[in-house]
Amino acid sequence: MTIRVQAEAFDYGAECAEFAANSEGVGAIVTFCGIVRDNDGTLLGMDIEHYPGMTERALTDIEAQARTRWSLADALIIHRHGALAPGDMIMMVATASRHRADAFAAAEFLMDYLKSRAPFWKKEHTAEGVDWVAARAEDEAALKRW
């Protein structure tokens, strides 16, 4: 189980390959990568602020919850902070399990929870100025299905 919170970019392909190579005896790996949407070309850039210390604790807790719910051989969460440009990769999750249902469900669970329960805040830069991204009610509602 690995959690990384970092400013630097990550190599999605290399991370997926390494995760797969280290997951012995599994039958399924699910990976997801979140990318900075350019909002039809209006987004100039994004800053992601986080709460060092609590971020790692929250992600560790979310990952531990996933492990109690599904049979996971391994899990990986990488989340960036700092300045990002449209098209940049923000974060990724990977899950490994014996059968694919566990890996898919756990990956979705990790995504739903880290959107609303890990202390990250996005700030968007557009031609009109700078604005903090508001949390969406549907992201909070998504937690109720688990």
Partner: protein, 83 residues
């Protein structure tokens, strides 16, 4: 008691500092917020709508009625937008 108070995102911008150490006898988070509001206009503005504010005590999410006894670090921030 002295408590370290952290602010993130627009709360940090409105209050103007990322962290400060506060001497307080507030019993709960709500009491601390009430105390801060009376200090200066920037606090009153930042805490004008508590529905838009979340709190963590020693890096764990908490409610506004949570007691502050034994707490070393309080953080205020808007709803999180990770992912």
């Amino acid at each position: 008691m002295s408590i370290t108070v952290l602010y993130f995102a627009w709360l940090r911008e409105r209050i103007g500092v990322p962290r400060e150490v506060i001497e307080t006898n507030a019993a709960t988070v709500a009491d601390l917020v009430a105390e801060l509001r009376t200090r200066e206009e920037r606090y009153a503005l930042a805490f004008s709508d508590l529905a838009a504010v979340r709190v963590a005590l020693d890096q764990e999410l908490a409610e506004f009625d949570a007691p502050l006894s034994g707490v070393r670090e309080v953080a205020f921030f808007p709803p999180m937008t990770g992912g």
